[in-house]
Symmetry: C3
Subunit: 345 residues, 3 copies
């Protein structure tokens, strides 16, 4: 069960090259993405309407795609326009298309009712493309349901435990209760840790005179998009009051896109606005994030295996679960709404 009427991240824009037939499964549906000669991106169901063969193992013919099983040819609107030994092509011989928008390096796809696909609803991730910020493109694949990863991202108290040598830091970080605000389609989390040691990844890219004030302020919204203002500044320079002096600032952009019920695409980048002409700093920050995300994947995959053995397992809620509980409620509410609409209620 997935929310359908929402924008999912389907890929980095450069994953779909000019001559490419690129296939990725999104919420259980294989999607073919390709560009017509004018560069426009198109997304079609990657399954021939005739016998179900994947179009992505077919071939490009101009702006069209030919299925290489029986030779049916489809245009970019999904319409079959040619079939062997047949003059008249029935109009229902077409594959489904999906609205796609390229914006700030990410491809956004709408898997629900196309009428409802409003590009104005796409979250702002301009830091991915803004020349004042630098980051590298990140992608990892998970063999777990996306909500277990969302849980992880909604509770940063795991940082000192799962990521002691990268994002983590002292256990004082976990001891802070973050502020959690409900949003229409998710939650907003604000966490300040004052007078703390700068975490390992930050020490590698910047000199710090002593303790820092550290903040993580992020929205986590449906379907599972995390957009974060994070960073740290020397303690005493007024960061909690809004002054960012000698700070290291980041604008983390992360998107979970369910592949199937039991697997997930994870797109991420961690733009910074200092030392932007030093590629080594960008690389170092990116590598710390990748290492940390691999650590997350290890523990979450172990958790998933443990839960799979115990279908009736009742989780015991702790106060650190406030945000993740709210987000799961928001998802449940949207699924219920979509299901009510679908049944005409």
């Amino acid at each position: 069960m997935f929310v359908r009427n929402t924008w999912y991240v389907a890929g980095w824009d450069n994953e779909v090259g000019p001559g490419n037939l690129f296939s990725r499964t999104i919420i259980g549906i294989p999607v073919l993405m390709y560009r017509t000669a004018d560069g426009t991106l198109h997304a079609l169901e990657d399954r021939c309407c005739h016998r179900g063969a994947p179009l992505s193992v077919g071939r490009r013919e101009g702006d069209c795609v030919r299925c290489m099983y029986h030779g049916l040819k489809f245009d970019a609107s999904g319409q079959c326009i040619e079939a062997p030994a047949q003059q008249r092509i029935p109009p229902q011989a077409r594959v489904r298309t999906f609205p796609v928008v390229e914006r700030n390096r990410w491809i956004w796809i709408w898997m629900g009712d196309p009428e409802a696909a409003d590009p104005a609803m796409i979250p702002d991730t301009h830091w991915l493309a803004d020349p004042a910020w630098r980051s590298l493109d990140g992608y990892i694949h998970y063999d777990v349901n996306y909500l277990l990863i969302a849980d992880n991202l909604l509770d940063f108290s795991h940082l000192p435990f799962v990521h002691p040598t990268t994002l983590g830091g002292g256990e004082d970080y976990a001891a802070v209760q973050p502020r959690v605000e409900r949003l229409d389609d998710g939650v907003r989390i604000t966490r300040w840790t004052l007078d703390t040691d700068p975490p390992p990844f930050a020490r590698q890219v910047k000199n710090w005179p002593g303790k820092v004030d550290r903040w993580n302020i992020y929205n986590f919204t449906i379907p599972a998009i995390l957009l974060m203002d994070s960073g740290m500044a020397p303690t005493g320079t007024g960061a909690p009051e809004g002054h960012r002096v000698d700070a290291a600032e980041f604008r983390g952009c992360q998107a979970l896109t369910p592949e199937t019920e039991n697997s997930t695409h994870y797109f991420f980048a961690h733009p910074h606005n200092f030392a932007i002409d030093n590629p080594e700093v960008t690389r170092s920050i990116h590598q710390a994030v990748v290492t940390a995300f691999d650590e997350d994947r290890d523990i979450i995959t172990a958790q998933q295996r443990s839960l799979a053995l115990a279908p009736g397992f009742k989780m015991i809620p702790f106060s650190i679960d406030a945000a993740l509980s709210q987000f799961r409620w928001a998802v449940e509410r949207r699924l219920a709404e979509e299901s009510a609409t679908a049944t005409g209620a």
Copy 2:
């Protein structure tokens, strides 16, 4: 669900050597095949009636087989004739046997009611053994249901798309509408492509002055046996009128035997009656067919994976599907009949 009262191909006769205990699963049932001293082939259920261990990992004792788990000994009629620490063997201590017939290099097995097993119903494949024809033995294994492979064999319009460098040829081949005739237990397909280029595999084994007339005329019958008269002759020499002058003729013999619901044995050979003293020609033809069948397996396996993701997928029929639809109806009819008989209706 498989048709039971029919002859399936269980193997090439030389797969079962003199001292061998050969096991192959046919329509979900593991079958042990072996030869008694006089060379007679026997087929027994490959599952000891005592605790279910496979007899094929047992040992030959004269014309009998001893299960190497607890030492029960079975004769070629399937009767248990010896058990440790036991004088009287109960008559129900026996494993099932299956009628088998060796004919023209193939082993045919009957998985249904033994009373109904009439060898006269075995299709004629004498080209596999006839000294006027030459071919090599073919076998490949598929991890898909046999009907998806049958679909493929019932629509040769895929040749220029899936097999452009072997069996294929120009797309004019796919543009021809074949004649499809209903048979009692399947379909008969007649496809003539006139004034066309000889396909790659034929150009490798014979010189052609120019264009050819090409024919594929085949019966595809239950369970899933394809017997084909195919070939080509120079255009203008009268092939369509029945004259075969300077022709290259083939008698393709192909048999699909379900292993399980999701896997299939595929036996095939492609006898030719020209250049029969040149083993290189035989080898080249066989290799082209093997290469083409590997191409089929790639696309059909991809199709199967795509369909597995979409249980409710509705295929949209095209006119090229006439034969495969008729064959699927024939199978449905037979399954319904066997089910009615089984329930005593």
Copy 3:
């Protein structure tokens, strides 16, 4: 479905080292075993009560274990005593513990009602620790349900067939009908083979003047514990009458512990009381047993695959099945009793 109110073998005592967090799944439940500083062994459910992450990938902190997902800390009684950003820990924040007893090198665990866990019910396996006997620790893992392995151990007529070069011997061994006595919680089997050849493994460790009288006398009791007095003595020295002259004696200790419905832990050792100062003899006996158990695993795994293909398979009972049938009845009876108790009947 497993018997719960019984002692299972959970491991060899030295598998759980001083600083270790050792995880093993027992009847479907992942169990963490570790020792507090005083050496005491503790067994906790290996699944954090918060979000289900395995505690065994956590870290030791003194006599406690900290979950390395969100940092919850548990003491050896299973109680959560610390959680990030939270002062009061709810008392229900705890993981289940299981009674464990270390005795004669084996760790015994009780997976049922802790009130009923009486260490006096643990079978006597003192030969594993007695200086007058020698053996090596054995463990193998099976991908089959434990009852198929129990069947195997309850019918030694398979020895000459499955183990001809190790434990086996002449087929006269299989021809003997053992005496089978019903016990409260299993069966007692007595098998004497008189005037027979010593089996291969015994010929490697001792010189025999000629034929021997061989005995295997064992209890096989719930959950699946085999304790055996076995051996052989030269024929004519009075072994059947109770005199053990120039004998080779063994006290096989074997325990099957279900891991899941389809996998099993197998702990075993084969203590001998002759040539105890010759490690080569001990090694040779152990190796023969390991080789034989690998042979068992091959045939039982093949049997399991064969049975999986035939859900409705009816086994035909032979007289050699008396013991295994009785043991399966005993298990059924216990399962029925536990189910009646559970439903309050």
